[in-house]
């Protein structure tokens, strides 16, 4: 293949991927900006069971369980101790001794530490046997919350709404995710480290509350709203419908998305709401952040095995199946992007080395406009989320700062090109274990497999 043909081919691919992404962003912004809050329902119409999977969570689990007890006086809390090496079980046991609504589900190696899905399945089996066969599964809602999760006090009312669990075809609801430590500096680090960490947390907050929320809301139209693991509400009958001999959760690293796939292909509808949220700790450390995103990328790659199931399903429209395929293709497109995007620049660089004057006059005579246009189209889909974040989530943020957030978000997103390659490396080495992301307060690395 000659150089001009290679250049033409890579430019066309780059243009198509950029235009596809730009169009996608334009389409998801509209339902996000048009959203107005819905009327909440009556939480007393349902029974609520919180599942809190824990592995070495002694620093946060006590506070979380007490928060859940205080905020939701009728709900039961099931803490799964995945064979913690710290005092997680003792902390929960201590609370459970005074409170009958707290249940500790203990797992032990070699059957423990095999993944979050397995831990949730253990709680599901305990819950199922405790409730017995007379339970009204349609009225029983299972809520998954991370060990540092803080579901907003109104979340049960919101999820009980007519258009959510009030609609019996809805099997699961995902609520918005906020970062509880946004605007908070990490104690103990250097001044530069504090600023960087706070910025990283801000980007996670911006990402979840704008771009991810917008993607989820647009999925309402395609019928493919996915589950996110934290702040994930599921109807018991829906879980029963998709459970195998171990339970409803399967083995992928992205067990939440996987659960959503099983629900959707079984004919259940899923919902998403911004009217309530769950707060979790954002990560200050770039290293931990990259590990977390590598796990998510690898999980998405693993879920490629569901492509056939999704497209075979009669419950999913072609648009829905295409949307899920686009989502599952993201890490692969990022890999392709890292190969395709630099080629035109490399070829230009080679030409510039051969004849710098010719390339400079080409650039100065008007080609700079080309770079400006493509630069703008490359940046705008990320940049817009800064001002949108200010307009819809954090009005106290200044106008200029929100534009700065937009630029920072563009840089933040480019880390996915790194994590996709790391995920591919782990996939190729068959390192499919659960790498638990450490909390900000933890010091020791806890890695399984």
């Amino acid at each position: 293949m000659s150089l001009p043909v290679l250049l033409g081919l890579t430019q066309a691919l780059a243009l198509t991927m950029s235009v596809a992404f730009l169009t996608y962003v334009c389409l998801i912004v509209v339902p996000y900006l048009r959203h107005t809050p819905d009327t909440p329902g009556d939480p007393d119409d349902f029974d609520w069971h919180f599942l809190v999977p824990c592995r070495d969570e002694e620093t946060v689990v006590g506070g979380t369980v007490r928060y859940l007890l205080d905020s939701f006086p009728r709900a039961h809390i099931w803490v799964i101790d995945d064979d913690s090496e710290d005092t997680t079980a003792a902390v929960v046991d201590d609370i459970a001794s005074d409170e009958s609504r707290v249940h500790l589900v203990r797992r032990h190696r070699p059957n423990a530490r095999t993944g979050k899905g397995d831990a949730l399945n253990a709680a599901y089996r305990d819950l199922r046997s405790t409730l017995g066969s007379d339970v009204d599964g349609d009225r029983t809602i299972v809520v998954v919350v991370d060990a540092d999760g803080r579901p907003a006090a109104n979340c049960l009312e919101v999820c009980a709404a007519e258009h959510l669990f009030g609609d019996e075809t809805i099997g699961a609801v995902q609520i918005d995710v906020w970062m509880s430590n946004r605007g908070t500096l990490q104690p103990g680090s250097s001044r530069l480290g504090k600023r960087f960490g706070a910025g990283l947390v801000r980007m996670q907050d911006l990402e979840f509350r704008t771009a991810i929320a917008a993607i989820q809301m647009s999925r309402g139209l395609t019928g493919t709203i996915s589950m996110g693991g934290n702040g994930q509400f599921t109807r018991l009958t829906a879980l029963e419908a998709i459970a195998d001999e171990n339970g409803p959760w399967r083995g992928a690293l992205l067990e939440d998305f996987e659960l959503g796939v099983h629900l959707l292909t079984a004919g259940w509808r899923t919902g998403f709401t911004r009217d309530t949220h769950v707060a979790q700790e954002g990560l200050y450390s770039l290293r931990r952040f990259l590990s977390q995103r590598t796990r998510w990328g690898q999980g998405t790659m693993q879920c490629a095995r569901y492509v056939r199931r999704i497209w075979d399903s009669t419950h999913l429209s072609t648009l829905g199946a295409a949307e899920m395929l686009y989502y599952l293709a993201q890490p692969w497109l990022q890999l392709l992007g890292t190969l395709v995007y630099p080629i035109p620049f490399l070829l230009l660089g080679m030409r510039a080395m051969g004849d710098p004057n010719e390339v400079w006059s080409w650039f100065a005579d008007g080609a700079w406009i080309l770079f400006a246009v493509y630069g703008a189209f490359g940046l705008l889909p990320f940049l817009i989320w800064g001002p949108i974040y200010r307009a819809r989530c954090e009005p106290s943020v200044g106008r200029l700062r929100s534009i700065g957030y937009g630029f920072a978000y563009a840089v933040y997103i480019y880390t996915f090109y790194i994590t996709s390659w790391r995920a591919l490396y782990r996939l190729a080495r068959r390192r499919n274990g659960w790498v638990k992301t450490r909390r900000n307060t933890e010091r020791a690395v806890t890695v399984d497999h």
Binding site: M1, S2, P4, V5, L7, G8, L9, Q11, A12, L13, L15, T16, M17, S18, V19, A20, L22, T23, V307, R308, W311, D312, S317, T318, L319, A321, A322, L325, D365, G366, A367, I369, L370, V373, Y374, F377
Partner: protein, 180 residues
């Protein structure tokens, strides 16, 4: 017990797969025969340009170049390079179309219609880009007209046209048919 009627017949399984392979072959052919494609593209452009001008227009097929303004004081030639052809913009559509047909054979006809229409749109968008370039050169002169047309306006037309073709393809290929 064998349920013969439940087994898919060879016709229902084979032809969408063959169609998907055919689309992949078409995609590969576009790369292999991109020069021939560019020649056809320039012949089409020559025909369209001659509709809008009384000056002479000539297509040099071997060089994938169209000359216009012949007989005037400012004749000009435009060559369709591999970077400017619409051939490679059709590739992703063909690949996605092939994947969709392979994964959901029952929408084959719908995908083919969507492919046909969106590919025509992409070809037309590139022709419009060329016509705009010719118009700007005629209006603003060689230097300014060419650079404005080739860089800023050309890129805008490519991006907007590409977006329109993609939206059209997705909409036509995925829309639900009303049940009678």
């Amino acid at each position: 017990m064998a349920v013969v009627g439940a087994l898919p017949g060879p016709r229902t399984v084979t032809w969408p797969k063959a169609l998907a392979v055919l689309l992949l072959v078409a995609a590969a052919s576009l790369i292999v025969w991109q020069r021939a494609y560019r020649t056809v593209e320039m012949m089409l452009a020559g025909g369209l340009i001659s509709l809008f001008t009384s000056d002479g227009v000539y297509v040099a097929s071997q060089r994938q170049t169209v000359y216009f303004g012949l007989g005037s004081e400012t004749p000009f030639g435009l060559r369709m390079s591999p970077e400017c052809t619409s051939a490679f913009l059709l590739l992703p559509l063909l690949l996605v179309g092939a994947v969709m047909i392979a994964l959901r054979p029952r929408i084959s006809r719908q995908v083919l219609v969507a492919l046909g229409i969106s590919m025509v749109v992409l070809v037309l968008v590139n022709q419009i880009r060329l016509l705009m370039l010719v118009g700007l050169i005629d209006w603003l002169g060689t230097d300014q007209g060419y650079y404005l047309g080739h860089t800023m306006f050309g890129s805008l037309i490519s991006v907007l046209g590409g977006a329109a073709a993609l939206v059209l393809f997705v909409w036509l290929a995925t829309r639900q048919r009303k049940v009678k």
